[in-house]
């Protein structure tokens, strides 16, 4: 039964997923061709120095990409459910309601994970061809909060869409904005190194964020 559910979710988001892959490829192409030009037309040592001492992040343009993708996938998944309250159809299926809601969320996060893995893997591999492991590691540590912000964007968007009352939608939008900002602070390489594990745990907990809105939807609460 859950396979059928996955099938339906995929039908909703498949073109957005393809689009996201396309945008990621474009972004990666931009970053690496730009990097190539930077290395070609500048003193390579000066580029290394600006990375190590001046916080030059050649991959900076992807900072908000995971967030944008997270929000988009969530809208693609949940907007069709929220229009005309079509989520009722899914909640009426002969399945445990909380499991259904968690499954929908899991499906979205799995897709996000594939997309994020693609982005991070290509960045890391590409970088390691031109820069030593220390720079690759610093880049990786810097990317993690941005990727986690993507998941948070997904969780908050889902919750805001499912939540029936406008007052609570607004509250969650404000809270989501500030929470996500925590993951996207303007900082130097590795600034997040002390906080990666706590942020990871918090992100995992937020998988449950949409459960209260889902419950309130089911009970017809305003």
């Amino acid at each position: 039964m859950y396979r059928a559910l996955a099938y339906k979710e995929w039908l909703k988001i498949r073109w957005f997923t393809v689009g996201a892959v396309g945008i990621e490829i474009l972004a990666l192409l931009y970053i690496f061709t730009n990097l190539r030009a930077i290395l070609e037309f500048n003193n390579v040592i000066a580029v290394w120095s600006s990375i190590v001492y001046k916080n030059y992040m050649f991959f900076n343009s992807v900072k908000y990409l995971p967030l944008a993708i997270g929000i988009t996938i969530s809208v693609a998944q949940y907007l069709p459910e929220v229009i005309d309250k079509k989520l009722k159809l899914t909640l009426h299926l002969p399945l445990e309601e909380s499991r259904v809601l968690l499954f929908l969320n899991l499906f979205g996060t799995m897709i996000l994970s594939v997309l994020n893995l693609l982005l991070v893997a290509v960045l890391i591999i590409g970088t390691s061809m031109v820069f030593p492991a220390e720079i690759v590691w610093a880049e990786f540590i810097t990317l993690i909060p941005w990727v986690l912000a993507g998941y948070l964007g997904y969780f908050f968007t889902s919750s805001i869409l499912i939540e029936p009352s406008w007052q609570r939608k607004t509250v969650m939008a404000i809270v989501g904005f500030f929470m996500i900002n925590i993951y996207l602070v303007d900082a130097i390489y590795g600034a997040y190194i002390g906080i990666i594990i706590p942020l990871l745990i918090i992100t995992l907990l937020y998988n449950y964020l949409h459960m209260l809105p889902g419950f309130r939807f089911k009970r017809g609460l305003k």
């Binding site: 040592i45 990375i51 190590v52 220390e134 609570r168 130097i188 590795g190 209260l212």
Partner: protein
């Protein structure tokens, strides 16, 4: 479904508390806080007194410890070694101080100004550095075409190819091993710029907390082990190549002591460090022909120590001033906000959960909000549910923030 819905509710409530504890104190501070600038403290070799410049209502006042005020010109005459450019311009430069005739180029040679901020020390650093050729045979220094790392061995990585220079690396590695270096390196201190008179390479702390000095001399390794004073663990060294060639740099230890690492036999000369907190204070080291002036700048105080050129303490001074916490603005904030959360810190370059808890006065306000919530609940129903009791505890602990959170996301059962 109910269990996950309750979990979800507490998640949202805690998120609101978290966000509230960030934005309300910040908004309050943006609206009401004032800036309090620290005075700059100098020691006059002319009168042997401390003089300071203070920013007062957008004006600069120049005072001494007794409160006497000086004009700008008077002040400059009191601090000739610091203000020599202005004095020369006005032809007011004295011929001698303390019997020693003034030689401008000698004076310039001896003038030192070094600052170390906590953010220089407490930050993530990428453990790659360029080892500049220290005897280039040319008047200017040049950046090398490699960066080195020290993991289980030292490796020089050619920047263009991103490949290890095997021969050079082996050469340096043997030198380190022969000196008793214990891999991997823990910390690197140097000055990776070519805008300096010459290069003194890097001071490196190895895995056993020993200190080594490494230079690149005609592309060959110069490695010396530096004997540390008893019980010293190095936190940070600010390396500063100066034509004066008295010391390599300023050393900060893990127990807040300060030393100069001297050229002469790598001796450690201790500097006054009374009250110094390396994690929260800015260190300013000023030097001239006659004195060494060391200042520690904290949020509401600056301590200044003056030594002679033999590093014997001859004077100290403490300036304190009030900041927001001492005025109504700060006291009210303490009252309303049980704690505040910030993710960045003025003292380091990390992102972290930085909680600042108020003094105990906030419990009163917390109880007030608790009471408000209690009466609200009582109006709705006679007995309390378990979840309402939890809400009350949340408000007791987090006061204003919890109160908003619990009312915005009321329990639906």
């Amino acid at each position: 479904m109910i269990f996950s819905a309750k979990l979800s509710r507490y998640l949202i409530v805690l998120s609101i508390i978290l966000v509230a504890s960030v934005i309300f104190p910040e908004f309050y501070s943006m609206t009401f806080s004032h800036s309090f600038s620290s005075p700059h403290v100098y020691y006059s070799p002319v009168k042997k007194i401390f003089v300071k410049t203070v920013s007062y209502k957008r004006e600069i006042k120049r005072l001494d410890s007794k409160g006497n005020e000086y004009t700008r010109e008077e002040f400059e005459r009191l601090t000739p070694l610091f203000s020599y450019r202005q004095l020369l311009y006005r032809n007011e430069m004295p011929d001698s101080i303390d019997g020693i005739p003034i030689d401008i180029s000698l004076m310039r040679l001896n003038n030192i100004f070094i600052t170390i901020k906590p953010t220089d020390v407490y930050r993530y650093t990428i453990p790659l550095n360029p080892l500049i050729e220290s005897e280039p045979g040319r008047p200017d220094l040049q950046m090398p075409d490699d960066f080195f790392r020290i993991t289980d061995k030292i490796e020089f990585i050619q920047c263009y190819s991103n490949k290890v220079k095997v021969k050079l690396s082996k050469l340096f590695n043997d030198a380190l091993v022969n000196c008793g270096f214990n891999f991997p390196a823990k910390k690197f201190f140097g000055n990776p710029s070519t805008r300096k008179p010459f290069d003194e390479g890097f001071f490196i702390v190895d895995n056993n907390n020993n200190l080594f000095h490494m230079k690149r001399v005609k592309n060959k390794p110069y490695v010396k082990k530096v004997i540390l004073p008893e019980g010293i663990k190095i936190e940070f060294i600010k390396v500063m190549e100066m034509n004066l060639k008295e010391f390599y740099g300023i050393v900060i230890t893990e127990d807040n002591r300060l030393f100069l690492l001297m050229y002469d036999g790598y001796k450690f000369v201790e500097l006054p460090s009374k009250g110094f907190d390396r994690k929260k204070m800015k260190l300013v080291f000023m030097g001239n022909q006659f004195y060494r002036i060391i200042s520690f700048f904290a949020k509401n105080s600056v301590a200044t120590f003056v030594t002679d050129r033999n590093y014997k303490l001859i004077a100290e001074n403490m300036e304190k001033w009030k900041t927001d916490e001492d005025f109504a603005v700060g006291k009210i904030a303490d009252f309303i906000f049980p704690f505040k959360l910030e993710f960045t810190d003025v003292y380091n370059k990390y992102v972290n959960f930085n909680f600042t808890f108020s003094n105990s006065s906030f419990w009163i306000i917390n109880l007030l909000f608790l009471f408000l919530l209690l009466s609200y609940f009582k109006r709705k129903r006679k007995n309390f549910t378990v979840s309402q009791s939890v809400d009350l505890i949340i408000v007791l602990l987090t006061g204003f923030y919890g109160f908003i959170a619990v009312l915005l996301i009321k329990d639906d059962d």
